[in-house]
Amino acid sequence: MNKIRINRLKDKGFSVLGMVSTLFGLILLGVLFGDIIIEGVQRINWDFLTNLPSRKPEKSGIFTAMMGSVWILLLTTIISFPIGVAAAVYLEEYATKGRLSRILEINISNLAGVPSIIYGLLGLEVFARLMGLGPSVLAGSLTLSLLILPIIIVATRESIKAVPSSIRDASFALGASKWQTTYFQVLPASFGGILTGVILALSRAVGEAAPLIVVGALAYVPFAPKTPMDEFSVMPIQIFNWISRPQHGFIVNASAAIIVLLVITFAMNGVAMYLRSRWQKRIKW
């Protein structure tokens, strides 16, 4: 009897502790958001979204930086999505599970933890200089693709792994080839998870400044990029640039830009959550 009571107490104690830990993070985040919103929300209007950068804070807008981010997002998606999914499919479905694949596996997981500035240096050397792409949107996108590929590969592999092997057996037993099994069964069944992983990885990419600065993205570009070879800025760089200015007006601009960036990231996460729940509803094992 007594033991049960002690265990109950422990249970209670842990749940309180857990709640406090959760709240700690949430409250800090809340304070931060509150601060930024109070400062920046007044500045958000149509002009702010569509104006080019300017010397005067009240005339400055985030149009070029936003378009730069959109370009980066699009190109990064086009590059990293197929490569990441193909790599994951290869590792899960095709590669023999030997030592080589284990080494690859460990290294890919480790790559996900490499500081982003290292990717920036790699991008500068390989894409900007060696391949002669210069400080272009394309060079930036390639760099960010490298950065998020490990995340996409890991997430894709996880969702491919979650597909029960009985489905593969059934497909093979009906005379399907490996590719048909992957294409008709494994990928559709894991697509929700794959998409979620890709979107989360991309939402990380939109927030990156360091690797793009190293590759040569500018703090000030007069126009939005029109081709993949154009120079560009992105929102995190613009924010950093504004925050480092002395005038208070630019600090307000930075807060407003942070709000816009947050909205974009939250929207992306929301889409990811929606897709996941939709796919889960469709497929119950």
Binding site: S166, D169, A170, A173, G175, S177, R282, K284
Partner: protein, 305 residues
Amino acid sequence: MKNDLIILPSAQPSFFKSMGSDIINTKTSSNEPVIESEVITNNQEITSVKKSEKKEYQILVKNVNVFYSEFQALKDINMEVSPKSITAFIGPSGCGKSTFLRTLNRMNDYIDSFKIKGDIFINGKNIYNEKIILEQLRKDVGMVFQKPNPFPKSILENAIYGLRIQGIKDKSFLAERAEDSLKQVGLWDEVKDNLKKSALALSGGQQQRLCIARTLAVEPEIILMDEPTSALDPISTGRIEELIFELKKNYTIVIVTHNMQQASRISDNTAFFYLGELVEQGKTNDIFTNPKYKRTENYITGRFG
């Protein structure tokens, strides 16, 4: 291949089967890679013996040894299976029944540690020959699994998946074939109004019958079943047993079962496995009434296993 199949009226699949003959070749049309009819084995002696046996047996197993890495799961198995018969594999858990069954359509190929020695001939063709096209083999040798495993798609899509992957797109032909195979397993009346419904919404017994229907739709000659009723209630089990018995008219069936009554009720021949060895095989009646070995008798009467 597409045309080949479309010419077929969808009456009875058995009608078009060249029983006991070289199906792998007859089913292959001219634009497909044709498999050489000459069997290459690592044992020439056996091959020559087989010319006459080819006619008789749909499945012929010669000195098969199977390994998972170092562990030997099957020891020197020899077996003959005649067309349109039901063969039951019985034996205690872990004795290698599933392993053996899965060597017959090469489903073990996906296990990296799997190794096989010896020869398995299906309709006279050595299926472990490099020239065998796996996809073709699986079309001829279908498989039904222990746990019903429908695809997370509609009932209709499940039924026609095997045909779809062959590249058949003719909607009316697919629908017809789906109806035929669902009728064969007695599922048609239960699902005909809900063909677009997810197969996962069916009951376990219905799912298993759908899995059988999906196998029948590609018109195999042989159907391998690994404990197809062990996850089902007695009523569903009864229905599937009846179905299996019915299917015997047109198909060669090999079934693994832990249910002695089931084995004795439906099978013509029984093979008793024990620790990777094929201890005893023969007419089901003989095995169950007059087993040669004590071990067989003990197992059948439930004294161990």
